[in-house]
Symmetry: C2
Subunit: 365 residues, 2 copies
């Protein structure tokens, strides 16, 4: 099978958000998809959404090219062992957000690691379950692949074909390196968000009324399902602990400086050092989907808050030949106007603002 080709026949074990989304993406390529899930409701829903047909209990007459284990990190090794015992496929991959420990557990369980390529698509949604699945969930996203010295090249080729069929970009990385990376950019920040949000549990109502966009952003992922995250954090315990210890140390140092354990000048210096490192770290995050964010210009337009106004706005943009790259709408409840912030390529901003003003829109600034 050519790496650029979609697999012909795939088994997906676990029809949650990720498994069902992979299945839907494969179905668009005409791939035959066989679905399995311990939860018969999730399985039926995925099948009804067109993600594939239920995996028969009997032995398969013809092995699949690939089996995707879309189960939590703690279940990967046992699911791999069982699937290999049944001889479901020629190659196997998983989608868990931790790689090193499941690989070690699979080795301990005697799995055949030649046919297994550990994988992790960097995509997700606030919602979970098959109903939230989308065939385009992985378009343009990074998909980490962690082959080891034991992995057969044909297995890597098969899994790479799957990743490309989903429209994602494969990124090869060693398992331990992957786990240290996601501890830094995902698992650690998750616990930090929870600890920050935890402060609000017993806060006065007045404090909450003073909450702005900053604390909303910092704590957004604190709304996630704890059980899902207990599995992830436990499986990546040491790297996550390291990140949390570093953050805690920085916060404790800042608190001590604020309490006055440094000379007067020392406080500003201590804060400048930490906030400066924060600036530098933040600047290293690439834009959406792994590309450096292009520096869009923002054109703000005051809009009446009623149906049809946005259509006129975008129509005007279309007439001006300007592509709107992103839109944010700010509403003011109880007031009949809002502000639309239109992100456009910098060279198009003036043309757009002019066109909108010419059509009577209020474009401040």
């Amino acid at each position: 099978m050519d790496v650029a080709e979609a697999p012909e026949r795939v088994v997906v074990i676990g029809t949650g958000l990720i498994g069902t989304s992979i299945a839907l993406a494969l179905r668009e390529h005409g791939t035959e998809v066989l679905l399995d899930d311990r939860d018969p409701v999730a399985l039926r829903l995925a099948a009804e959404l067109g993600a594939g047909v239920p995996l028969p209990e009997a032995a398969l007459a013809r092995r699949a090219d690939l089996a995707v284990l879309a189960v939590p990190p703690g279940a990967v090794a046992a699911t791999l062992r069982d699937a290999q015992k049944r001889g479901l496929a020629r190659a196997y991959t998983d989608v868990a957000s931790v790689k090193d420990r499941p690989l070690r557990e699979a080795a301990e369980l005697g799995c055949d690691l030649r046919g297994f390529v550990a994988g992790h698509p960097l995509a997700g949604r606030e919602r979970s379950g098959p109903a939230a699945a989308r065939g385009d969930l992985f378009l343009g996203r990074t998909w980490a692949l962690c082959p080891t010295a034991a992995t057969a090249p044909e297995a890597v080729a098969a899994v790479t074909g799957l990743v490309r069929a989903c429209g994602a970009r494969p990124l090869t990385v060693a398992p331990a390196e992957h786990d240290r990376a996601v501890a830094l950019v995902s698992h650690g920040p998750h616990v930090v968000a929870a600890a920050t949000a935890a402060r609000l549990e017993g806060a006065d109502d007045v404090a909450l009324r003073l909450a702005g966009q900053g604390v909303r952003d910092v704590t957004r992922i604190a709304a996630s399902d704890p059980e899902l995250w207990i599995g992830i954090l436990t499986a990546n315990a040491e790297p996550v602990a390291g990140v949390l210890e570093s953050v805690a140390a920085d916060l404790a140092r800042a608190a001590a400086a604020l309490r006055g354990d440094v000379p007067a000048d020392g406080l500003a210096e201590a804060l400048r050092e930490l906030l400066g490192r924060g600036n530098a770290g933040r600047a290293r995050i690439p834009g959406k989907h792994g590309e450096r964010a292009p520096a869009y210009a923002v054109v703000s337009v005051v809009i009446p808050d009623r149906p049809g106004e946005l259509a006129l706005l975008f129509q005007a943009a279309g007439v001006a030949g300007v592509n709107i790259e992103d839109v944010t709408i700010e509403h003011s409840p109880g007031l009949p106007v809002g502000v639309a912030e239109l992100a456009v390529r910098p060279e198009a901003a003036e043309r757009l603002a002019g066109e909108l003003r010419a059509r009577g829109w209020s474009v401040p600034g």
Copy 2:
């Protein structure tokens, strides 16, 4: 002056983002605005934007109703003293995000506190300076007011009139209570975001390529100007230190559990407890502008990434009589499609999806 009436004549000292935005809002009510800033460039720009005219150096023939001190927290007291010495206005207010310490400093400097109402509009932008100012910046926002036992009722009435003229909602709160609240919902989270972002400064490129939306949200405010925040954090040192100590303690405890200092069951329990408190705290944050977020339904539409497509999309929504409450556009660089997520009132979601599908749009799910 009725509290619902805009003031007739206002001095704005400090023509940065907040001061200039207040001035622009007042100008829309026909208020005469006199501007002052130590930076002549900022002053000239604010005047050119129509925010008002420069404050004459000579004594005012007629005192203003109100002077707004739009300066950093550390400069409020001295600015108030100087303005009162010049007799610029009958009442004074500030906009700093810390209230208790500036009030104490003003008392120490011998300011007349009967005419001063400390204030804090909960509004801001990623950008700063007069060029980013907008007359609608405060529409629907909460604006904290911190009168004390010493404050004259006429001063409170004058400042309340200003707040209403800006379209904001006044919220009376004691200075120390305000400062504890913003430490919880703004200043503390700001340092936490910086400490989390700081971890990325020396990270491998591969780690950054695995960054998703979660870490982007957690660290967004870490991009802010350190000098501005040094002033804020220093002025609110004790309450912020308390928040940082609590977050650091939670993180250290989680790290210790992940390192194995608890029995095997204890790890899941410790994480469940922290993540559960995070869920509870996050759930207490009201929606935008201080209202509980209405539970919008999201309709996802696949759109070709070219001018005019969004216009057609919003036109269809207008035909269906559906108001789009918010829009998010996901782009996939290198691919000719994106996904627009349209937030609408739940009862309108099905109608919108049907209308869009009938017009040939791809509406997954």
